[in-house]
Symmetry: C2
Subunit: 192 residues, 2 copies
DNA sequence: CCTAACTCGTACTTCACTGTACGACTTCTT
DNA sequence: AAGAAGTCGTACAGTGAAGTACGAGTTAGG
């Protein structure tokens, strides 16, 4: 059994396995928050025991998957050009991240089943803060509304993205249209 | 065992039990879509076996709960004053139904786990049609936007309501504010 | 090339939930 | 008041997933 939590060095193949498992976990849990450990191991092309070698239990696995998703989210966010009016920044931001956020909502709901709410909020803090700052900036510019709690403005964006993902999955929204519609919808919500 | 599906008359106490069970099912499933049969029976103050006496399996129970929720939804909808501009009608409609719809989203997701998608859509058809008609009317009046599929416009309202319910549950949105915020948010989305 | 690290199958225990079987008891209803 | 209808506990079988134990085989890396 690999040294899981200790700071020891890991062998390259172990590293590879972990990467595949985490990726598979993101995949499976995004489709079905109740996906079993077995499903995930299979999807990763790895024995269930290998998985348990790296993650003591479902909790740890879900946490790793969520952390990974948030990590790539952070990457994307930090690549977005922040110059110009908040409205435009928001459009660019949504354009490059809506699908990612959308796909992760199911993963998030999986996390809600096994991780304490405080942990989840904490993991989200970084990204949430960025969006919140953007909204605040838009408000200062007079472009975004101020008649609702900022927390609601930030969170409702998530719910819209979640919805877009659902509609996509159900074939009720064409993938090529989704970006445009998401952006237009969110802009309408935030506009002053 | 009572005659479940046959058209036979039921005794008054059975009728009462069923009502309590359905109500408890709505309650429990709205809080947790994975609530067990046992939880629901306990919440109804009824033995598990009594429950099985009236509902052959989880599927039937969930279906009954959903049907019941949709039924009260229909009642509320049919009480809404439909006169005047679509914008105003929408406000009245949301004001009297947002909490109901919001609470039922979890129940709906429970249903998605056990009922065929077609059945669910069909059960929803009546209410969905009303909302769709209202949106269409608003479009004809020039009050509502026409640059997105109408299906999206209708469904995104659900997602916003779902979000409002979540925020409420998490204490991030004050109950007394929620109505106002929901209405304002939805109006912004639909406005031309 | 040797050894520790890793993989991973099989088999097991535990656990929660579903649904069934039986039967004794209670309460409507006529 | 009698019988049908309904209540409901206990007990059982089946299922599916979580997590543990063991151990034999494989691979990376000094």
């Amino acid at each position: 059994m690999p040294p899981a939590s200790t700071g020891r060095r890991r062998r390259a193949d172990a590293e590879r396995s972990i990467a595949r498992i985490v990726s598979a976990a993101r995949d499976c849990l995004s489709r079905d928050p109740n996906a079993s450990i077995d499903d995930i191991a299979k999807a990763a092309g790895v024995g269930r025991m290998t998985l348990y070698g790296h993650f003591r239990n479902r909790r740890e696995l879900v946490e790793a998957a969520l952390a990974d998703a948030l990590g790539t989210g952070e990457e994307v966010l930090s690549d977005v050009d922040l110059s110009g009016p908040a409205r435009d920044v928001l459009s660019r931001l949504l354009d490059s991240s809506w699908s990612l956020v959308a796909e992760s909502t199911a993963l998030l709901s999986a996390a809600e089943g096994v991780l304490p709410a405080a942990t989840i909020r904490e993991m989200h803090a970084a990204s949430a803060l960025r969006v919140e700052e953007l909204v605040r900036r838009g408000q200062d510019e007079g472009a975004f509304r101020t008649d609702m709690p900022i927390e609601w403005l930030v969170n409702v964006v998530h719910y819209v993205l979640h919805g877009a993902a659902e509609e996509n999955r159900g074939g009720r929204l064409k993938p090529e249209e989704t970006g445009r519609i998401v952006i237009a919808t969110v802009q309408s919500i935030l506009a002053a």
